[in-house]
């Protein structure tokens, strides 16, 4: 089972890389057929990615979210999934070019940190923990996509202002479309983040985890939550248009990345087995 999982993940990795190459060529040639090809190849990658996770789940005997390898594979998967869902709604074809590298990087890091599956420690053997993890991963997928869109937004805006947009005109999504993507991705991500945090709190309360509210990861998550809430509030009031939204989405992304790559491994007290 573990072998199958690794092979599936390799296939997924190659398909994502192939899709990325297609998107690069598409960016250069602007061929609309290539966008469709890229999306189909990436979707095939997502299918194999899903199979890899399922197989890993069977070989580990639990939902695979333990340790760096499993959790990174999961995050990459949720980003790819969220992207596909948003893509099918917004029909914003060019985003693959920016989402796929993130997925590829996450998977590469995952390979480096590969470890064979381990048994769940007793503390994690609980339905609410699994719910917490899955919901959180979905939220992270959405919010990563929002942050990525924010980065493209700011780059494109700067290019437009400095009259250097020549090379990207008609190739990048429009500012309006990007802003909508940030908004929709956050709108989708924040409820999941909220639900995930609630699940975490319930679990901490029921098991009497000591001082869970002063854990750096919890505090940072609360901060991120507030950022995204402010973003949505500002955007809904419609006064905050464009770059401010983009900056908030990027700040949120930085906080999330900090949580994942600094707080979890080095600071957190009880989240460490999240890897």
């Amino acid at each position: 089972m573990e072998h199958a999982s690794v092979i599936f993940l390799w296939i997924a990795y190659l398909l994502y890389a192939g899709a990325f190459a297609v998107f690069v060529v598409q960016f250069l040639t602007k061929s609309p057929t290539l966008t469709r090809v890229g999306l189909v190849v990436a979707a095939a990658g997502l299918v194999f990615h899903t199979l890899a996770i399922i197989c890993r789940g069977f070989s580990a005997g639990h939902v695979p979210f333990v340790g760096a390898y499993e959790s990174l594979v999961m995050v990459a998967w949720s980003i790819a999934l969220v992207w596909h869902v948003l893509e099918s709604f917004t029909k914003m074809r060019a985003v693959g070019l920016y989402v796929l590298p993130v997925v590829l990087i996450l998977l590469t890091v995952a390979w480096v940190e590969y470890k064979p599956p381990v048994q769940l420690v007793p503390a994690l053997r609980s339905d609410i923990v699994i719910l917490h993890v899955i919901v959180m991963l979905t939220a992270i997928g959405c919010l990563y996509v929002a942050g990525g869109a924010g980065i493209i937004y700011l780059i494109e805006e700067a290019l437009l202002r400095r009259r250097k947009a020549g090379g990207v005109l008609g190739r990048l999504p429009s500012l309006g479309a990007l802003e909508k993507l940030i908004y929709h991705a956050t709108l989708l991500g924040l409820p999941f983040l909220t639900a995930g945090m609630l699940a975490g709190i319930i679990r901490a309360e029921t098991f009497n985890v000591p001082h869970w509210w002063v854990d750096p990861m919890v505090l940072l998550s609360l901060f991120a939550w507030a950022l995204y809430a402010v973003l949505l509030w500002g955007r809904m009031r419609a006064d905050w248009v464009g770059s401010r939204i983009a900056w908030l989405a990027i700040t949120g992304l930085v906080v999330l990345l900090f949580i994942r790559f600094a707080a979890v491994p080095y600071l957190s007290g009880f989240h460490t087995y999240g890897g």
Partner: protein, 458 residues
Amino acid sequence: MLVVVTGISHKTASLDLRERLVLSEEDALRVAQELLESEAACEAVSLSTCNRTELYTYASDSLAARQAAIAVLARHSGADVHELESSLYSYSGDGAIAHLFRVTSSLDSMVVGEAQIVAQMKSAYQLACEGGCTSVVFNRLFRHALEVGKRVRTETAIGERPVSVSSAAVELALQVFGKLNDHTVLIVGAGETSELTATHLKAHGIKNILVTNRTFGAAEELAQRVGGKAVVFEELEDHLAASDIVISSTSAPHYVITRERVERSLKHRRHRPIFFIDIAVPRDLDPEINRVRNAYLYDIDDLQHVVEQNRGEREKEAHHAERIVEEELRSVNDWLRSLEVVPTIATLRDTMEQIRRAELERLGGKLADLTDEQRAQVDMLTASIVNKILHMPTVKMKEVAGSQECYLYVDAVRTLFDLSGNGSSPDGAATGDAATDAVGAAPDPPGATVHHTGTDSA
């Protein structure tokens, strides 16, 4: 036999001469027919656009075809033959076909990548086709040329980037807003470029157009032309707040819209972005506007700059297009070569010989009882039957080989005997193509393209 093109274009002739050589549809057809009547050519197509007038002929003598073309053009335009000679170009063979492909791909156009030429070429060909001036070669060649034009368009980005100020402005607006359906454009001052830009914007789905001018009458007039609404100049600031795109082209000597004004308007519209296009000289819009958040300002120089960049990009794409033209030229050449007599006779003989051998082999069992001598006799007998049958067609084909119409015989033979897998062409794919098309002329296969009919168009 070869393709010959003779003509003038914006690259070789003055506007004055080009004007005189513009042919109406009737004239164009008559020119082609006259060329056929002069017997210098056996197929002819005449193309006339505002930038070029060209006569394509399929002829055995390229020099005679050229002279005939010049004579016909001189007659129709009233221009002097010597005057024509000096601004004329003429290509034959590969050069002519390459030229045809380059023209259809808009590589030879004044604005490289413009889209009109394909339609113009198509109607020129259709006209000649319906007038009975084209046949086997041009029916295929021009359809191929139109395909090349299409291929260049889809496989390169040659026509992607706008190369006029007004369409560049629209492209920028699209980059800011995405879809333009629900947006409002405000035109300040009634200039020609702003009208053009408004028309472009309308083509991209914009429905609300506001027009304002110091003299209300002029605003009303322009509003009527572009299907918009005229508004009073004194209320500019209110309308500014309602507009997503502002195009300004007044002749005012000072800034019409200042930074403060824009900031106030943006507050009113809750900071939804405004895209300003200033096409006036001296400028109407305070350059400081570009520093305001959610306001984007492009002046005429910026737009020109975008246009220049796009031009450069088109040039780059033109290189890809040239490669496509070369590739297609090769495939057409393979087919044209197959229309020559000698290889066709060889292929015909090969095919017959193959049939003969296959039949003999099929009978192998029944012939087993024969002695070696008898088998040799059967072999000789069948060979001599085939030779006898082929004798007359071979002689006749060699007879017509020098004449203008010989390729028609060749085409007929190739069609009737279905000579597809011939050895005369090195390119298997191209010959396969030629075969499918040749089969099309036979009455048998349903749905196949039939040549020689006037109504049949690409």
